[in-house]
Subunit: 256 residues, 6 copies
């Protein structure tokens, strides 16, 4: 039994945790192609694993992940033309987040953290939070933190992992960061021998619709995952866990 | 690695499976109180476990579960006043299902099974399927089966488990059926010593809103789970798995 | 002039009734095939007639029926492939109910009864009530009862009408119960000579979409209406009227 | 049995009528205050009665009326502050019409007439038609006529009824036209002795929200109904029935 | 710098104006064909120019116009089959107005005027205001005036401009009133030599969908603009500006 | 008369341009605080001015700007707590874009460019395009480019303008880039003496809701606009215009 997972707790235990002030985490992932070497669930798996590590450190609770995210874009996720990428409309994701935030507020949760594991989700999650807070009204005693976990990776860690220069988070889809973190958390789900060997994708500064699928490598990988390993995964995860723990403690006034 | 779980597969492997005609299963659960002895995730956990067992038998693929369901009703789930029950509006569930069905169709899936693990979901899932099929248009080569897993339990199994008479599926919330199935699949998540000891709830044939919470036992259990055990769980699961496998093979013309 | 029908009252008379505490009834029917012997309006006609009988007994008011219901399902209404069945999307029915409940609350109605005459409506009506109550806010002095009228038929009446065993409410579409009740209320709308003569429909425990129309008898009747008569209609109606009157008086604290 | 009313027909009879090319009429009314002398259902009652008269003349079918209309405005219906006025949001009326038009098209109806009996409905009905036709697609063999019945009253009839000058259709709420038509169709629902005796309401050319309720007579009548009688009702109805019959025959190419 | 235009003010200056009680004007136009002699932006250009003239007189502020309006109808705007007419769904216009009104309320605006320049917008704007006021709640200190500018033209001015009789506002699309007002405000945008020379359009009292495009002159002009000139424009504008100024001062209790 | 502005063209002229293959530009701005020195309309003004310059170069047409954008966020626009910032819900912006794209397609436009001038708009515009293309269907001969104009500023220009290092586009709200571009296009709308003198805002990598308004400078300026001038504005605009012209020509196969 995983005592930080809400879906493993009885409502009686959950209520006790909430009443004692536990921070609740909601991982928001995607079901999206991540190249031939990473599984479709990578974004939800990482957001959940990170949420659980953080929750363990501060006695929090992790709600079931939203496993379907906003539509994959060519420049950050490869695009919607890949088989297996299973996405929802913006309105659907907004509604999911809005309903969830409203429910956690009803439970008595005072401090909620939405942990995004899929770049395309950010703005629809933001709107969902905003609409939930509008529903709840101005006097709600609820604070919501929204974060994208990779933002907590420190620049010196990036320098260490990318001695030749960081290609930028935009191209880090199914690349060294995600692959290394998966090697840390779920090594049996990584097929190292399937990592494709091609240079990074090149995109213009604009987008065109319908998607110019020829801009995207056939593999779905936007820059090479070569050189990924579990050690790098651990460095990354340590930054992320440490950073989130610190942020949550600081912003929500928790004792460390 | 769980080779029937879509979130464990790479898109390349998933595409191969879909192109070879794999049936895809989408479990649709809830995050809902299930008494002091079962976890909040019971409905999604059971729908997922059953989907995986069925998928293993017919080489299918199980998509990530929808972990949040329609609002809990007093008579079948205890109601929305329980802490921990985390539900979505009808429109949200409709949208989730609509988007998902549309996406599986885009992948080339021809045979899709929606496995409902939460009674309250049924009609909103039905509407989501209907709207997706309207979006896709009349000539789509897609068939969708929608089922509630407990409907596959045979009457003779019910007679065996309830020698004094089956109280009816309506009251089987967090009771013998669900508890036994959880003891079969996730025994470490069941707190047998927390099973409350009270008689079944009594409900009139109508409903009243706002919810008359006094109609519902404080425990959230609608009829006693006493007498649950893993053996009964296995009998139940065998009926359900066997029944679904047979239904899918028959309706979708699969060889057995 | 029918003094229980809201559409026959002036606003001045209606206001007087509401201010004196009258219970308001909203019948929610459908326009749906009911075999060759019953009219398309059966569900709204019965829900309205029953509402009026109940209202007469307790000095209530009956609002105009919602005449279009949620999409007909094969197992309980024959399905959407029949000509004449005229249904609305789930969201439309939810919105209709939500708006109506909100308006009755604005009028000062404190006790509202939604009388469902079409099985498929139940969950969307429930959602409409829930959303209206959310709109109105937690301190509203409004109670809403939702009921399906056939649930008030007593088991001994079923035994009397079905001496060979009740086939179950699910198959009672355009069958003995509805036909007998129509013979009681609207005999001129029943074409007894058109009752089809075939055995009950057989359905599996799951559903498939697009609808397997071959599962449904061509007549649209799910089990035979043979043996229907006005006497049985009266027995049924007496149960239903009596049951609803009692429920409303009890729950809403009316003097009898 | 009223053989032009769809809700009185079996699906088999309705199908036969549709297949032989029957025009279908959908009355769209309101539940709205009409002064102390007319019932709340006036708009739906008149739209239905007129539809039935027209249908009788051309062998058409009349679907169940939409009994709830768009929000009453001070200048044409008195406004939403009256008890009894029971209105829906614009989106709800749009959805109702959209769904209905789509369903009639599915039935095979080729010529549909939406008969509006409530001024405020017009634009939302128009949008509902437009969205339904978008749903159906450009090649649908469906024509939809939308009309407000009072527009068919001839100017010479107005001159005859209002020898001192017609105050304008805007103020004809619960006034001579509606009262006379109700005296023609439903005399037992008119309380002639309750007709208020005050001059016409005066409105500026703009509107203010929240509604300036002091602009509207307390009675809800916008100009006096004095002088209403069944003869005038008959003159009006003859114009309207005759005009609609002619319009339908001409536009839809029916033989007269 | 145009000191009545909100988009030309800094937020600091705007806040100062709002805090001192400035009335805010929101012009709501369209992008719609106006014949070969007037530009597509006519409705928004006129609503904006009029709003600015009024605002100058009473120290008000004019927000950026909504430049896209509800779908053009044959009888008042020619219809949606013209190239260049660029319209939004009813729900979109409702949402735009709802959001805008809610935002002005948040700013502290107490008196807001929605200046409609496109006939088809009226009901959707009305609904947007209603929903915003519902959102804001009953105690908001906000009054909203909604007006169509042409309603302020005095009958004696119409007599002066149309000595042979006013054809009615319905046919005044791209005709003498709009053309003359454009000649007053934006003479360089009027191509007098392109005014078509044909009689007024003739419409029945009903509408048919899909649009009978043959009812509408190919030019898109519903009655002739011949005889338009800047003097007439000035007379019209003087009526409109004067009337709105007076209405705003009177209703909102401003000193003149 | 500005011959690239759609709202200045008659429908006849617009149709001619569209039929000859003109690219249509839709500027999408905001009404948002831009510090005490820039006007609330900055984002729409810049997006429109840039669109017009580009359109002039390639004989395109510029549609009326969407003047209201998605809700301002603290880190890129200061946040919604500023007076004057007037924003729409995500669903509203999605709908506006969806409707507009669908309409341009109806006109026969084959190449459409959405020019975003407000950072927060990007994802909702993307969703609006996606939904419009879904509505239109897979065989539409329409290509849509979506761009944020500042992305076309070359790094060497940034080096020239920010010799001490570019603070990043995130903080460039009401700062040197926007102020300089406004000095180029609309110098009379810039109050240079009102530029606040404070260091750049510091934000954590996460967000918190309700907004921590103390994170945002009271002025609304996120990094100093000191040093802005029209020359820098010209350098920036030259990059942007040049870049967009080149992109449009290249992607849409126009001759240069």
């Amino acid at each position: 039994m995983n005592t930080v997972r809400m879906d493993n707790l009885s409502w009686v235990d959950y209520e006790r945790r909430v009443q004692s002030g536990a921070v609740v985490f909601l991982p928001i992932g995607a079901t999206e192609q991540h190249g031939p070497h990473l599984p479709l669930g990578t974004d939800a798996l990482l957001a959940s694993a990170i949420s659980e590590d953080v929750a363990r450190a501060i006695d929090g609770v992790v709600a079931p992940a939203l496993a379907y995210g906003y539509k994959s874009q060519p420049k950050c996720g490869g695009g919607q033309h890949f088989c297996g990428t299973t996405s929802v409309d913006g309105a659907t994701l907004i509604a999911m987040v809005r309903d969830a935030v409203r429910e956690f507020h009803r439970h008595g949760v005072k401090r909620l953290v939405l942990v995004i594991g899929h770049y395309e989700n950010q703005w629809f999650v933001t709107e969902g939070i905003d609409l939930a807070l509008r529903d709840i009204g101005p006097d709600a005693d609820l604070q919501v933190m929204r974060l994208e976990h990779w933002e907590f990776v420190r620049s010196r860690t990036l320098d260490r992992i990318f001695p030749d220069g960081f290609p930028g988070i935009a191209l880090e889809h199914a690349a060294v960061i995600e692959t290394s973190m998966m090697l840390h958390y779920h090594p049996h789900l990584v097929a190292l021998d399937q990592i494709p060997d091609h240079g990074p994708a090149q995109f213009p500064v604009y987008d065109i619709y319908p998607t110019r699928t020829e801009w995207v490598p056939d593999s779905g990988v936007l820059s090479s995952a070569r050189g990924s390993n579990a050690d790098k995964g651990q460095w990354l995860v340590e930054d992320v866990i440490g950073g989130i723990v610190q942020a949550v403690r600081f912003e929500f006034g928790l004792e460390s």
